[in-house]
Amino acid sequence: MNRRNQLGTGLALLAVVLFAVPAFFPVQPMLTHDTGETAPAPPAELRQQGYEIVAYENLSERGQELYVTTLEHDGEYRVAVGEGAADFGYPTDEEVRAMYDNGTEPGVVIERPEDAGSLPPSDERFYGYPSDEEGLNESQAEQRRQQIERYDAMSTRIAQPPLGATPQLIRLVSVLLAVLSLGVGGYLLSSK
């Protein structure tokens, strides 16, 4: 009986610790680079839409590295705060919402070199050929496709890592174990 009490008390205390632990180790925000967004318009139109266009050659070495690595990671790449590039702004979610409200697009559009063979392929999407009203033939449409792929939009922001990221999962496991521990401990203490 005494052993049951001790175990129950131990589990209840463990639950308290597991509930509290995540508070002392908060998940650190990360700098996110996302090229998944598509900006399918000519450069002049993109500027009008509030995009900032930067030539790839004009990016700093770190900026170029981050852009390339993002493309190599299926369009999304996160680094710790302090490891970003000065070329990019990293607004918070609230600042991003405010930018949308003001008609400004977060992130930049990167103008890839004419000959971008050394870079991973752009992940801009070209949604089919233009309609007949635009009066473009097939070769003109191909030129449009190449232009769209040359101007690659990349959004950058500072945000919590996604729920599937390891730091987040550790917190989830901690709380779930806390609940389990409290429940079993409570049962052992109550059923003596």
């Binding site: 919590q160 729920l163 989830l172 709380v175 806390a178 609940v179 389990l180 429940g183 079993v184």
Partner: protein
């Protein structure tokens, strides 16, 4: 004194139940998981926590009646069928002390389950968002406890009236179906029945407010509306769309104010109070007259 004795004895027996502890753990795990996946609401940390508790109440609206009904449906019927009622009613216990003692005990059990869920949710809210909007947390907790009590009252009343375990089970199942499931999955809604009687049988002009008033007799909808009382206007749960003028924004206080008084959020406590008190009175009256031989 005997009421307290009955309540203590009953509570002690219930807290030894593995099933009830398992239910509490499942509720806690659900709350923790909801807290974990929530966080996409617009606004700051406090808004995220408010949104978390809003989602939690939506889940509790469906889950808590199950817990309350399961925890209470055998409170008296089980004693009757097992013969324990004779020992319970031996001097100095009266039927009233048994009834009230069981009521207190079962409410305590359900409150324990809710508290378990809230501990998990509050923990996640504090560690993940670092915010604690006390008015929303304690407000929803209080309303949830009242909501749980209404189903304890209903289950206890049926348990008092039922002479056997099977009847008590049927009563609990029927209650959940009629008071919750038919509102979550409105295959046949009471509002539609009222509309059919009103317009087809009686030939009157359609009156959405009347049909919504019939719907509002459900503790499930009353709970959802009562939660609005402690949430900001933009998080309000709109229940009676058909009574709202088209030009009213759902996220504005006007979405409640333009409704007739008997459809407003402020009327929800009246509905909950009805379900809290009336089943108890009927159940107690039936228990007093029941032949327990």
């Amino acid at each position: 004194m005997s009421t307290v004795t009955v309540a203590k004895k009953d509570f002690k027996a219930a807290r030894r139940s593995k099933l009830l502890w398992a239910a509490a753990i499942v509720l806690g795990l659900i709350a923790a998981f909801v807290g974990y996946v929530s966080g996409n609401a617009p606004g700051g940390d406090a808004e995220q926590v408010r949104a978390l508790f809003r989602v939690l109440t939506l889940l509790l609206a469906v889950l808590l009646p199950i817990v309350a009904l399961v925890a209470s449906y055998l409170a008296i019927a089980g004693e009757r069928e097992g013969g324990g009622i004779k020992f319970l009613l031996s001097l100095p216990n009266t039927r009233r002390s048994v009834f009230v003692g069981k009521l207190l005990s079962r409410n305590g059990i359900v409150a324990g389950g809710v508290a378990f869920m809230y501990v998990a949710a509050i923990s996640v809210a504090l560690t993940r968002h670092g915010a604690f909007p006390a008015a929303v947390v304690f407000g929803t907790l209080l309303i949830t406890l009242v909501y749980g009590s209404t189903f304890v009252s209903i289950a206890l009343a049926m348990s008092s009236a039922a002479a056997s375990r099977s009847r008590a089970i049927a009563g609990a199942f029927g209650t959940y179906l009629l008071l919750v499931i038919l509102y979550v999955f409105p295959v046949v809604s009471f509002g539609d029945i009222a509309r059919w009687v009103h317009t087809t049988l009686l030939g009157a002009d359609a009156n959405p407010d009347l049909y919504n008033a019939v719907q509002y007799t459900s503790p499930y909808l009353a709970y959802r509306k009562a939660v609005n009382l402690v949430l900001p206007a933009d998080m309000r749960q709109i229940v009676f769309y058909s009574s709202l003028p088209e030009d009213v924004s759902y996220g504005s206080p006007a979405a409640n104010e333009v409704l007739p008084l008997y459809l407003q959020d402020e009327f929800a406590p009246v509905v909950l109070a009805f379900w809290l008190v009336v089943p108890l009175l009927i159940g107690y009256a039936l228990f007093e007259r029941a032949d327990l031989e």
